[in-house]
């Protein structure tokens, strides 16, 4: 206890030095904590934003293959799908919030001699009641969607075409079998700029989209299952895959080679195989975003490298500072040793100082990081920010993983203690008589 008091007193005696060394540790831990918080939220925000855009966490696509080997995306009869998803929901106790049955095409919008490319999602607004709530309208709104040809486009698309709410535009597109077709839409609403996803943000009534795609009124192309949370996604996806596998033809998940994304593997599989009727692809948002996960892994590795570089620099500083401390206190050490302090106690004194320095720096660093993250999350970048996809409702968010944070603290403590260990050992080995007669 006396040693701890002594260590704390030594630290408070040299306030400037303690402040600078502790500040360096605090700065390092703050930077690393902010990076970790950002990376933690990065994948969650991207997943949630994609889930909103793609209208689901788990997806099922129906693929038919023509005699000539062409693949057509279509789901005619979804009774097996519906039964399977209900079975999975009951088994896992995860109730999907929404089921979205979408038909989609990419087309060229034509208005007053101007063109714009847009992917238009055909949605059933009567059942997808959450969708209008997520659309930030700049002008117009859902009212115009009561017309069959109603279309919702984003601001950049409307600007590019020079079109306003109420204007009628032509859309050149292809049917689900690839034949040429032309549709005529009326702009019902213009939504906020969704940044890099501007070209993905067109919505129309599924009935009309189906007509243009030459699909039947009850057909669609993909089923999106929107779950209450991201956490159950993989379990739900796997269970749905296994359940469907027993009922209908499903593209296997086993075809993927090592390190290959099985969504890509399923695509290649479809090209090689022949089948009759409909064969289903089951995949989750995590499968689609596996490349984003790779980015997260890179960011995690980068943050670890930054942590190590910062603390190697700090370690060198601590090592030198403790050498100076030892030199400054050489007579003090001699006196303490002369009045009975043991070698181990001298070593412990130095190590306690280093530990308190590290702990103080870590606590201050984490507090500063929390403050910085809190301030950053208050800034509203807006829904039209190019960073939209990594934001949550226009705000930056941070998510700290406790294990990661604890690991960082342990690394900092270990590095600081190892930096102080050599001067502490040298101080402990000092002969009291030599120390007492040393003149600084």
């Amino acid at each position: 206890m006396e040693l701890i008091k002594l260590a704390l007193r030594n630290l408070s005696r040299q306030k400037r030095r303690t402040f600078l060394l502790g500040g360096a540790i605090a700065f390092g831990i703050m930077i690393v904590t902010i990076i970790n918080g950002f990376v933690g939220a990065f994948i969650v925000n991207i997943s949630e934003n994609f889930a909103n855009l793609a209208a689901g966490h788990v997806f099922v696509q129906g693929i038919e293959k023509s005699k000539s080997g062409k693949e057509y995306e279509i789901i005619h009869d979804d009774s097996a799908l519906m039964a399977a998803q209900k079975e999975v929901a009951d088994k896992l106790g995860i109730r999907p919030m929404y089921l979205s049955k979408r038909s989609t095409f990419a087309g060229t919008l034509i208005f007053a001699g101007k063109n714009a490319q847009l992917t238009i999602d055909g949605a059933d607004f009567a059942s997808e009641t959450y969708l209008p709530e997520r659309l930030a309208f700049r002008s117009g709104g859902m009212k115009g969607m009561s017309a069959k040809e109603g279309l919702i486009v984003s601001e950049p698309i409307a600007r590019r075409l020079g079109a306003e709410v109420g204007d009628r535009i032509l859309v050149q597109m292809k049917t689900y079998t690839g034949q040429q077709n032309v549709g005529e839409f009326a702009i019902a609403g213009i939504t906020a700029d969704p940044g890099i996803l501007g070209s993905m943000a067109g919505y129309a009534n599924k009935a009309y989209v189906n007509e243009l795609l030459n699909l039947g009124p009850d057909d669609y192309q993909s089923l999106g299952i929107y779950l209450p949370a991201l956490e159950g996604m993989d379990r739900y996806g796997n269970a749905l895959y296994e359940t469907l596998r027993a009922k209908v033809q499903v593209f296997t998940h086993d075809a993927a080679k090592k390190d290959e994304n099985f969504v890509t593997a399923m695509m290649s599989q479809a090209k090689k195989e022949t089948w009759s009727g409909t064969k289903y692809r089951v995949f989750t948002l995590n499968d689609m975003l596996s490349q984003v996960q790779q980015i997260v892994n890179v960011l995690n590795s980068a943050s670890l490298v930054i942590l190590l570089i910062l603390f190697v620099i700090i370690m060198v500083g601590i090592l030198n500072t403790f050498r100076i401390i030892m030199y400054e206190r050489i007579r003090e050490i001699g006196t303490m040793r002369s009045i009975g302090m043991q070698r181990g106690e001298v070593r412990s004194l130095f190590l306690y100082e280093a530990t308190f320095l590290a702990l103080g720096g870590v606590v201050v660093g984490i507090v500063l990081a929390l403050v910085a993250m809190g301030v950053a999350s208050l800034v509203n970048f807006g829904l039209n920010s190019p960073l939209f996809i990594i934001l949550k409702n226009g705000h930056m968010t941070f998510r700290l993983e406790p294990i990661r944070t604890i690991a960082d603290v342990v690394i900092v403590a270990a590095l600081t203690l190892s930096a102080a260990a050599i001067p502490a050992r040298n101080a402990a080995r000092m002969d009291p008589a030599v120390a007492l007669r040393t003149v600084k």
């Binding site: 050149q172 690839g178 034949q179």
Partner: protein
């Protein structure tokens, strides 16, 4: 009167003059009526015009595309065809940025080759070539008789020619356009105009077979085609044929390695 309208008028006059010049014997309906004409046989005859059978065919097409407010752009392709095995190779030679890209069709598979990535990707015969109005399918032999049913046949006149205007509906989904109105000379099964419609009946493209022809073996191949985009007003492409060869082509042209080394 705007320049586009003047161009269209001049173009109509041009068609008439060329049509008159090309038809030395003049148009002759020959007493045929819709009731006594076998239109399926007529479509077969049109198909045969472009079918080189056991011989191979190669040619160069210069495609000049116009778009309102932009300078005309030129795409040049070299076409290799082996109709006997339904094989096609389309190699893009111009513009420089697209040079070396190409399509290869073997049986029902169509691949697109991009020299930049060095990779093949699956494609279709419905793709447009370098943003022009021409599609890959425009360069294959006609298969009108097998792909379409004649829904209606009307008598008509285009320039000096007496014509049949055949309304065709596709009987499969492999063709680019579900509905076509084909204007064919009544005296010979030579197409003069092709109007392509969307699946919901909207006009999408009109192809004018300008009545100048190049002798390719025992076949007459249209030397010039004009393709007008009916959806994007003012967009059109004119295709001019040259360097025609009919005979035996080396097998190497119909293999992937050819496109890979062509650049």
């Amino acid at each position: 009167m705007n320049s586009a309208r003047i161009r269209r008028m001049l173009f109509s006059v041009f068609i008439g003059i060329l049509a008159a010049a090309a038809s030395a014997e003049g148009a002759s309906p020959g007493g045929a009526t819709a009731a006594n004409t076998d239109f399926k046989a007529m479509l077969k005859a049109v198909d045969e015009l472009s079918d080189f059978g056991k011989r191979d065919y190669s040619a160069v097409y210069d495609i000049v595309s116009e778009e309102p407010g932009e300078k005309p752009s030129t795409t040049q392709i070299k076409l290799f065809r082996r109709d006997e095995h339904d094989q096609i190779v389309i190699l893009i030679r111009k513009p420089e940025a697209k040079k070396g890209q190409g399509y290869l069709k073997i049986d029902e598979n169509v691949w697109f080759y991009d020299p930049e990535s060095g990779n093949y990707s699956h494609s279709t015969m419905k793709e447009n070539i370098n943003d022009s109005q021409a599609k890959n399918s425009d360069f294959k032999k006609y298969t009108l008789a097998s792909d379409f049913d004649v829904v209606k046949a009307e008598e008509g006149k285009l320039g000096v020619f007496e014509t049949w205007v055949l309304t065709l509906k596709a009987n499969n989904v492999e063709v680019s356009y579900q509905n076509i109105r084909m204007t064919v000379r009544r005296d010979k099964p030579i197409p003069l105009k092709e109007e392509d419609y969307s699946i919901n009946g909207k006009p999408m493209r009109t192809v004018y077979y300008l009545p100048t022809y190049v002798q390719a073996g025992d076949k007459l191949v249209p030397a010039k085609l004009k393709m007008v985009d009916e959806v994007n007003k003012g967009k059109q492409s004119v295709l001019t044929l040259s360097d025609v060869y009919v005979g035996k082509l080396d097998d190497k042209y119909f293999q992937k390695t050819f496109l890979e080394s062509a650049q």
